[in-house]
Amino acid sequence: MHELSIVSSVVDTVTESLTAYPSARVLEVRLRIGALASVVVDSLEFCWGIATEGTGLEGSRLVVKIVPVVMHCSVCAEDVELESLQSFRCPRCDEPCSDLRQGRELEIESFEIDDSPGVENTEVGA
């Protein structure tokens, strides 16, 4: 259950980047999480509300995109997407694959902000 630490790192990183947009309101934060990253997406979403409370990210949405596992198959000489995590074999030729090309990502892709002039005042007044 390390999702809270992961989410807290996301909040810290986005907060640092927000200094460039002092009057912006964060609407959405987008993550790319590999299917082999050992992270439970439901737990990330559950922790998001707790971790963003009292920060500039409070009220924002968390959007998680799962990145499938891609291995390099030496027989097919191609990158192939795994169909399940129960067998690391090429789905075409059944050759065991040990060369991982994608699937461990733990990445903040982007965040979306509303930086219309006066957005901060509107918030305070609301």
Binding site: H2, T13, L36, A37, F88, S110
Partner: protein, 225 residues
């Protein structure tokens, strides 16, 4: 409303990864092979490590260990009986070790200089999920599995087994009474991590230890060559 998207493309664990890269550089410069031992609680990491430390010391290797647990220094005291320098890391509730904890515990470790070691073992917190995300700068990540746990453990925890460089099966001395299906366990490990080196060991009887020590020696030499 004017919205805009700010592209970041940044690793969430970037700070840990940078620290781990720094540690990896230090280990390499010191010529010490660092191993990160990961398993469920109760697999026998401590017993396996006790035996490894004792056997390595008996053949003249210079070894030390860092051991992670939520609470207590019981494991550090057990391991210290081997005569090797051992330092306990208490995570106080955190389910994994991270590079910052390793870095802090390497500082001010009076009887240990990295350059004076052949091997440094890191016994992670007993957990088959969270430690797989945290690079500690190790040279070899070892996943351990005992004969009492069920042969399908690698299938249940593919993320950890797939990130391992070597696998160790422990408690082989009780494999038979436990009805351990050796062929199935080996097949499952290979299904998740094709081609991985697998060691079948018993800390109690010493079975498989020679092969394990041979592997350590081989790996250390090839990295320092």
């Amino acid at each position: 409303m004017t919205t805009r998207i700010v592209e970041l493309r940044r690793g969430i664990l970037k700070k840990n990864d940078e620290l781990a890269a720094g540690l990896r550089g230090r280990y390499g410069a010191a010529g010490v092979l660092v191993l990160n031992l990961v398993s469920s609680p109760g697999t026998g990491k401590t017993a396996f490590l006790e035996r490894t430390l004792r056997d390595l010391r008996a053949q003249g290797s210079r070894v030390a260990a860092l051991v992670g647990d939520l609470e207590t220094d019981n494991d550090a005291r057990r391991l210290a009986a081997s005569g090797a320098p051992v330092r306990q890391i208490n995570t106080h509730g955190i389910c994994h070790l991270d590079a910052d904890m390793i870095s802090k515990h390497l500082e001010g470790w009076e009887d240990v200089e990295l350059a004076g070691l052949d091997y440094l073992f890191i016994e992670n917190v007993g957990n088959l999920v969270c430690p797989s995300s945290y690079d500690l700068g190790e040279g070899i990540r070892v996943a351990l599995l005992s004969v009492t746990e069920g042969e399908d453990k690698p299938l249940k925890y593919p993320t950890l087994f797939n990130s391992a460089d070597a696998a160790v099966i422990t408690k082989m001395d009780i494999a038979e009474p436990c009805g351990f299906d050796r062929e199935l366990a080996l097949k499952n490990i290979n299904e998740i991590r094709p081609g991985i080196r697998i060691f079948e060991t018993s800390a109690k009887t010493g079975v498989g230890m020679q092969e394990w020590l041979g592997y350590l020696d081989e790996e250390r030499r090839s990295r320092n060559g």
